[in-house]
Amino acid sequence: MTVPRKANRNGIKDKDFELVRAINSGHFDRFEDLVKRYEQKLYNFSLRMCRNAADAEDAVQETFLNVFRYLKGFRYETKFKNWLYRVAASTCLKKRRKSKFAPERELSLDEFFLQDEAEIPDQVPKWALMPLQKLLNDELLDKINEAIFTLPEKYRLVIVLRDIEGFSTAETAQILNLSDANVKVRLHRARLFLRDRLKGYFENE
């Protein structure tokens, strides 16, 4: 049976608050529980943002060390996970390197909107119709991850937080210090970019 979590005075229910309070009241050994809870998630988030394993490892370590240093200052005004990802995102952005695979550029809607009649599809392609589980395989997962790597950083951050990490629009906006509208615009362009990559992959299969 799960015990319903009580909302704190800010109206936030968070499974991590109890653990954070325990650490902040001197049970530093419980920090290990926090590491166990988020290590894999942060490692994969950092890998997607830094693109290289060594930088991702550095980013995860710096994130946890910063969390350890500044946890006392956590105000319980947001979910702990949102605060954690804010620290992680800013750590990854500091580690950024210029990449020829994902040059920083604006994605415009026009580049994804088909106007050429010859290119406009007249039926839904098979890859968008067949059951997801039949479609999925390791090669396709590699392609998806490669396509994510090639997204310009500001779009990649948003799609990773929204569609992979599962944060809401409002949470993503809070983590990245953006407006909700800005998150929506970046997410839509990021998805269209990935869709074009997937379309290219399936057409050339």
Binding site: E39, Y43, Q61, L65, R69, L114, P121, I148, R195
Partner: protein, 88 residues
């Protein structure tokens, strides 16, 4: 509506909102407008379906395991931190 009759202006207006539609972030009127439009416009219907599939696939991107060596190194670094974190 076939592709020759594809009304770019209206299609482009709705095209901008397809992610919000998939995320259930639009008001009822706009949702109904999109639903009506995609029933009549094959290119926009295809666009919505391929976008939806892209989002579904993205959600399956998966996670790699954390390398054991790194996991050990991380714990050592945390162990070496001073045990009274600063207040802010």
């Amino acid at each position: 509506m076939n592709k020759e009759q594809h009304d770019h202006k209206h299609c482009l207006e709705l095209f901008e909102k397809l992610s919000e539609y998939l995320d259930d972030e639009l008001d009822e009127v706009t949702c109904k407008d999109i639903e009506k439009h995609i029933k009549e416009c094959v290119p926009c219907f295809v666009c919505l379906q391929t976008l939806k599939r892209t989002v579904d696939l993205c959600k399956q991107a998966g996670n790699r395991p954390v390398p054991e060596d790194f996991s050990k190194k991380l714990r050592e670094a945390i162990q070496n931190m001073p045990k009274s974190p600063p207040a802010r």
